[in-house]
């Protein structure tokens, strides 16, 4: 399986390159993909993250050739894929709900892609056995697809997509239908597996936890456009726009006017990172940057709600003026609902967002 990274001609820098890809459904209305540019390097795991309807799945379908782009190009290893039918593109796609062939058993499903390429029966059998070992289902060849649990179907679908050694493996909501515990375990397994095999992966998901755990690089999409690209850490620490911030679950966003080392907000003065230019902007304070003080010191507020989150308690605070503030605090220190507290903000957790955003 790993033998395919040959050392022949110098490989083009990008395995997949999308240039200005646009897709419209219907004559009018907002495009599903709006001039999307995206590069994926060989052996890289890229995860496209976005709410439903943001065009993620359409992106995969365009690369697979299942959906015609209205404008723009798809290049695989430097070759333009216009006019190349799906079955000749040599990519793999794992569908959201697996789409295993119901009339075939597990081995029949996994070997399907190899059969289409006309490989020998012994090669098929060897590959199937190897892959089933790899995904943790050894000896499941003769089992009926209908008898598999959700997690097992998931593994069979993965093995089926990997079998023909696609140059690019695409995953559509790979873990979407599984329960939480299984999902967290599988995501770690998948990442290890892809790194071992050297697979190039383009995945889409609406689950940020999944994206951050799986990806080398995260691409956040909004309404058919790319809102931000970066490593999981970059995106998490510095969301570029208010949309990205809110999509990641950060709700402490306010109007602000920066002047020097602080900004004027409805919550009063909030310190900003060094080098922030003066002028109006939108400001995010991550909950970790909201400190509780005594009611006399900071911004006075009432505890409106508290939610137990396992490792910490999420607090919803209602200041005298301005919108509610979300805060995270340790279990021991959490105040009761209705208690009066004070709020202080810490500069390292304050992020200035791009103004150009709805």
């Amino acid at each position: 399986m790993t033998a395919r990274h040959g050392t022949t001609a110098p490989r083009p820098p990008q395995l997949l390159r999308l240039g200005g890809v646009t897709v419209r459904f219907g004559a009018s209305g907002r495009p599903a993909l709006d001039a999307v540019d995206l590069d994926v390097a060989a052996h890289e795991i890229v995860c496209v993250l976005g709410p439903s309807g943001s065009g993620k799945s359409t992106l995969l379908r365009v690369v697979a050739g299942l959906q015609q782009a209205d404008a723009g190009q798809v290049l695989l290893e430097g070759r333009n894929q216009a006019g190349v039918p799906t079955h000749r593109r040599g990519v793999g796609l794992m569908f959201q709900d697996h789409q295993l062939f119901p009339q075939r058993d597990v081995a029949g499903n996994v070997a399907f892609g190899l059969r289409m390429r006309g490989s020998s029966r012994t090669h098929q059998e060897r590959t199937v056995a190897g892959l089933l070992d790899l995904v943790g289902l050894p000896g499941a060849q003769r089992r009926a697809v209908a008898s598999l649990s959700g997690g097992e179907q998931q593994r069979v679908a993965l093995a089926r997509a990997l079998a023909p050694s696609p140059r690019l493996l695409m995953l559509d909501e790979p873990l979407g239908q599984l329960d939480r515990g299984l999902r967290e375990r599988l995501v770690v397994e998948l990442r290890r597996l892809f790194h071992e095999l050297g697979t190039t992966v383009l995945a889409v998901t609406h689950d940020q936890g999944e994206a951050f755990a799986l990806a080398d690089r995260v691409v956040v999409m909004q309404d058919g456009r790319i809102a931000q690209t970066g490593t999981p850490l970059e995106v998490w620490q510095r969301p570029a726009t208010e949309f990205v911030a809110r999509f990641l679950g950060f709700d402490n966003v306010v109007e602000a006017t920066v002047q020097g080392e602080a900004a004027a907000t409805p919550w009063g003065k909030v310190p900003v990172p060094d080098g922030t230019p003066d002028g109006p902007c939108r400001l995010l304070v991550r909950p970790a940057g909201v400190r509780l003080t005594s009611a006399a010191e900071g911004l006075p507020a009432t505890v409106a709600a508290r939610t137990f989150r396992g490792t910490h308690v999420a607090l919803l605070l209602q200041p005298a003026g301005g919108p509610q503030v979300e805060a995270a605090c340790a279990l021991r220190d959490a105040p009761e609902t209705g208690e009066r507290v004070g709020i202080a903000f810490a500069a390292p957790d304050v992020v200035v967002l791009d103004a150009a955003d709805g």
Binding site: F25, G29, L66, T86, H87, G92, G113, M116
Partner: protein, 549 residues
């Protein structure tokens, strides 16, 4: 797409248009005045009126008798249910000629009731109506009962919990869900009885005549083509109307219903009322469906010297009571089987291609919900495929004779003429059986195969074909049974020395003499056994909702 289209253009539209044109044209002049003459002719008005009211009465009677049966089959679990379901469906694929002779044997002169009580119904309209019920009982039980069995009983239970009485719950919840299916079934029954030919031809005598019978008489007996053409057009218009209504109700039926596995909703009947309903249904089936067939079989064995196989034995020789029968009647069986096999093959190819074309992914509704023009045309074609069921088979048969008799298509002497005509009737059944299954194939399964490297042709072979194999078998069986029983067109184009079974039966019935009558019964029995055999084979392969029939 092109193949089925060409097939229909050449072997359906062209002959029908040609014969209608010949009837209405005098030289190069259209004679639309004929319309007025024909439509105001009191005899024609009488036929029209009779056609409409007997169809309406037959439909009403069928619904009245078959709806309780549909309920019993949907909701009750009883031993032998599977077998009985198959038995109920047998009459539907029986040739009309056999149905006619079966009722003749039951109700006609020298029939069972005549022997026992001196009752004869063959000259009354009741014989026709009962034969139509016999014929279409399965249509209602299958279309309505099939859906009824899949309706989630918990919907009705939810209504009961919310305070609705048993009847109110049924009326407010179940009936609205069933209504489109009932309407669709009623329209199908109306269509079949409106164009009824064999049954009325045999049971109607000189008194009763439907449009189809009248077309046959005008064409074959009086050679009055203009009148026949006008009658054909009238029937065509009526059928178009009924089909449009049918398409509309079918689309309404596609509305979202909560469907469950039918096997889970059936219970053993409990309480006096439910047992009475079940026994009532079984009684109706015994009297109305099984008795005529049983009598038919009985008559075929009742020779002049007591029971025996005299009639069957005599089928093997051409020397019958008179010598106009050119071949041994039994040869008709082999003719029928060969024609049926060929017609099935044609119907499968044409119908299969049409069904596949109708499910092409690009014809589905786009995300914007608009249907492109091409798709709308194709949907129209969908409805057109049903037309051969309603257009006068007599017209088609005669049209074949006058259009396909000169180069480049000189088929008059060709053996293929008969199977081609029979395939026309088989295609709608193939399409109706295949379409729901093909539509139910998840498009993303095909995409999954394509991504794994399967070319479009491989996708079809690897994904679609295995999933529709069962439906394909069923479609083949229907097409085979239907072409075995086809009468209206075949009677025109079958060569005198190569009659099919129904044609031979009709010829025998048309003659006097005990031997001829007995032979007709014997041949009908053979035909019935072949058809029923084909159907029972299918029933084993059938799933509960693999088609609309």
């Amino acid at each position: 797409m092109a193949v089925p289209f060409a097939f229909f253009a050449l072997f359906f539209a062209y002959p029908v248009v040609a014969i209608v044109g010949r009837g209405l044209k005098n030289g190069a002049q259209w004679q639309l005045g004929r319309f007025g003459d024909v439509v105001t002719d009191p005899d024609v008005v009488h036929v029209l009126w009779f056609t409409v009211w007997q169809a309406a009465a037959s439909t009403g009677l069928t619904l009245l008798i078959a709806l309780p049966g549909a309920y019993a089959f949907a909701r009750f679990d009883f031993p032998g249910k599977q077998l009985l379901r198959a038995v109920v469906a047998v009459p539907f694929v029986l040739p009309t000629v056999v149905v006619g002779s079966a009722f003749l044997a039951l109700l006609g002169r020298g029939g069972l009731l005549d022997d026992l009580w001196g009752i004869r119904l063959d000259t009354s309209v009741w014989a026709i109506l009962l034969a139509h019920v016999f014929f279409n009982y399965a249509v209602v039980v299958r279309t309505v009962g099939g859906l009824w069995g899949q309706l989630d009983p918990r919907q009705e239970e939810a209504a009961r919990v919310l305070g609705a009485g048993r009847f109110a719950a049924w009326r407010r919840v179940t009936l609205p869900a069933l209504a489109p299916a009932v309407a669709a079934a009623a329209l199908m029954v109306f269509l079949f009885t409106f164009t009824s030919f064999g049954v009325v031809q045999i049971l109607g005598g000189p008194t009763f005549s439907t449009l189809e019978v009248e077309i046959y008489r005008q064409t074959a007996d009086f050679l009055d083509l203009p009148t026949a053409a006008v009658l054909t057009l009238i029937q065509f218009a009526a059928v178009l109307g009924v089909l449009a209504l049918h398409a509309w109700t079918v689309r309404r039926r596609e509305s979202a219903l909560r469907l469950v596995d039918a096997a889970r909703t059936a219970r053993r009947p409990h309480g006096r009322g439910q047992w009475a309903l079940l026994w009532g249904t079984l009684l109706v089936i015994a009297v109305l469906l099984i008795a005529p067939l049983a009598v038919l079989v009985e008559r075929s064995f009742a020779g002049p010297d007591g029971y025996g196989t005299v009639f069957y034995a005599s089928l093997r020789s051409a020397a019958t009571a008179d010598s106009t029968f050119a071949v041994a009647p039994l040869d008709a069986l082999w003719n029928s089987l060969a024609y049926g096999a060929a017609a099935t093959a044609i119907a499968l190819v044409v119908g299969g291609l049409a069904a596949a074309a109708l499910t092409l992914p690009r014809l589905r509704r786009g995300r914007s919900g608009r249907i492109p023009l091409v798709s709308r045309l194709v949907r129209g074609f969908d409805a057109l495929l049903m037309l051969p069921l309603g257009v006068s088979a007599v017209t088609v048969g005669f049209g074949f004779l006058i259009t396909l008799d000169r180069p480049p298509l000189d088929l008059r002497a060709s053996w293929w003429l008969v199977p081609l005509a029979q395939a026309l009737v088989g295609v709608p059944f193939v399409v109706r059986t295949m379409l729901p299954v093909l539509r139910a194939v998840d498009g993303r399964l095909r995409e999954a195969a394509a991504v794994l490297g399967a070319s479009p042709w491989r996708v079809w072979r690897e994904v679609d074909l295995p999933l529709v194999r069962r439906a394909l078998l069923i479609a083949a069986g229907f097409a085979f049974a239907v072409s075995l029983g086809e009468f209206g067109a075949t009677v025109f184009i079958a060569r005198p020395d190569q009659p099919t079974l129904p044609v031979a039966v009709a010829r025998l019935l048309g003659r006097a003499g005990e031997l001829n009558y007995g032979q007709a019964m014997a041949l009908s029995t053979i035909l019935m056994v072949v058809c029923a055999g084909a159907l029972l084979l299918l029933e084993r392969a059938r799933t509960d909702h693999s088609g609309e029939f």
